[in-house]
């Protein structure tokens, strides 16, 4: 009878073949589905695929990474569904952490060496920064309204998630955070680069609208440290 440690090692070898096969499907423009891909192994396999995509010189890595990110998004939804249905959050933190690690690697592979462009905002930012405020939830403005003040080093409220000291943007893979992510108003996701960029653009335009105040018939741009109610 094979022991657990040997089974795990064998599965690691199997993961290599699965990652190679998924890469092949992605390169042929096919949907990357395979019965061997499970909720348990998907993060590790997609991280392996990300490394293969990074070595791809064809330039199609962004589109291919997007398909992998879409699958991870579905895996995240399944995991949070399990939390809502009573599976102990502590049992799922490891898999959640692996999903976010695979997401990061796929996103950096998709971005390559270029910053992410926001044409309507006349802005370009590194993908790492985009992941900070659009990689975990799609509605950071709703769940943490003062996050921009944090970026600008003004006074800000603490985020509603557990985070390392001095790093409020990092959502730690803790049971408490999983419980928070599984409930409203949080909208957790694993976005593609384009989806994350659109979310940031939309929220930035909405924030700019809020900061204009109609005062005696004149529109004045509020200082970012002033919070506008409503």
């Amino acid at each position: 009878m094979t022991t657990d440690v040997l089974t795990a090692a064998r599965e690691r070898i199997a993961g290599i073949g699965l990652a190679d096969d998924l890469l092949d499907l992605l390169r042929h423009g096919e949907q990357p589905s395979d019965p061997r891909l499970t909720d348990e192994n998907a993060p590790d396999v997609w991280q392996a695929v990300a490394r293969r995509l990074a070595a791809d010189k064809s330039g199609a890595h962004r589109r291919q990474a997007d398909r992998a990110l879409s699958d991870l998004n579905w895996r995240l939804a399944t995991l949070l569904d399990d939390v809502r249905h009573g599976v102990p959050a502590a049992d799922l933190t490891h898999r959640y952490r692996r999903i976010r690690e695979a997401q990061r690697e796929l996103t950096m592979t998709a971005a390559g060496t270029t910053d992410v462009e926001f044409p309507d905002l006349n802005l370009m930012i590194p993908a790492t920064r985009l992941l900070m405020f659009a990689g975990v939830v799609s509605n950071i403005d709703e769940v943490w309204p003062t996050w921009r003040d944090c970026m600008r080093k003004h006074g800000y409220d603490a985020p509603p998630w557990e985070h390392p000291d001095g790093d409020p943007f990092t959502v730690l893979p803790t049971p408490k955070n999983l419980l928070w992510l599984a409930q409203d108003p949080a909208k957790p996701w694993v976005p593609t680069l384009a989806q994350a960029a659109r979310a940031v653009s939309k929220q930035t335009r909405a924030e700019e609208e809020r900061r204009w105040v109609d005062s005696a018939g004149h529109k004045v741009l509020l200082h970012p440290s002033v919070h506008q109610e409503g």
């Binding site: 090692a9 070898i13 993961g15 392996a48 490394r51 995509l53 070595a55 592979t109």
Partner: protein
């Protein structure tokens, strides 16, 4: 898992290593089958944890290949060359797994005995110190023999036994390695093949150099000859023009006409 007939463990290990080389040098190939063959060959004779460590090392090698390939943007072959140290580590681990020392359990027990006696000696010395500080002479005298004679004596014997087993293990490893004469003969054969190839390469380079030299020489001669033809033609044209002028002058003089001055 598929069933594999009993396979020589060394052959199974060689197949896995060959498959890994093929993967990194030529492109993705199946690693599952040689991995399963290795598991089948080693199960029962090697602990599962050891087999698992080998497979984990193999998987990590592939992972390292892809990380390097993405980072360096070299081709397959160039990236594969960066993995030389990783392959050496895997070879070393396979060798140890395939050549287990038959007194491994005794060696582990001997190490544990030495560790245990060292702990006991530390504790009894601490107890003696405490008794001295407390002024408890009776206790000091009761512990003195253990601290100064009994436990140190046992520890010395245990260390000797451990050292003897360690030497046996090293001798076992030595005997497991192919005889040096065979290996030297293989080196000698490979050196002769390499030298013969080097000689053929040198000879081919000589031929190439000579051929290139011949081309350069003929190019030079051709250029010189063309220049000579060009010069001679110019001389001929000049002579023809001069002759024509002279003839014209002679005719005019004969006709009693004044010569034309340029």
């Amino acid at each position: 898992m598929t069933d594999h007939p009993a396979e020589d463990a060394q052959a199974a290990a060689d197949r896995l290593v060959e498959a890994l080389h093929s993967y990194v040098e030529d492109g993705p190939t199946d690693l599952q089958e040689p991995a399963d063959a290795l598991i089948a060959a080693l199960t029962g004779s090697v602990p599962d944890a050891t087999i698992a460590a080998l497979l984990t090392r193999a998987a990590a090698l592939v992972d390292q290949f892809w990380v390097q390939a993405g980072r360096m943007q070299f081709g397959h072959q160039a990236t594969a060359q960066l993995l030389g140290p990783a392959f050496k580590s895997l070879d070393a681990e396979l060798f140890v797994a395939l050549h287990p020392f038959d007194q491994e359990a005794e060696l582990a027990a001997a190490e544990e005995r030495v560790t245990s006696l060292e702990r006991q000696l530390t504790q009894v010395n601490r107890d003696v110190e405490d008794a001295l500080n407390a002024g408890d002479i009776d206790r000091v005298m009761a512990l003195r023999e253990s601290a100064r004679v009994t436990i140190p004596g046992q520890l010395g014997e245990a260390r000797s036994a451990l050292l003897a087993l360690t030497v046996e293990a090293a001798q076992f490893r030595l005997s497991s390695i192919a005889p040096r004469a065979e290996q030297l003969a293989a080196v000698d054969r490979a050196t002769k093949i390499r030298d013969a190839a080097a000689e053929r390469l040198r000879s081919a380079n000589d031929d190439l150099f000579q051929a290139q030299l011949a081309v350069e020489n003929s190019d030079r001669l051709r250029a010189e000859a063309q220049q000579q033809v060009h010069d001679l033609k110019a001389l001929l044209d000049e002579h023809a023009a001069g002759h024509a002028r002279d003839q014209q002058a002679r005719l005019r003089q004969f006709a009693g006409l004044t010569p034309i001055t340029a």
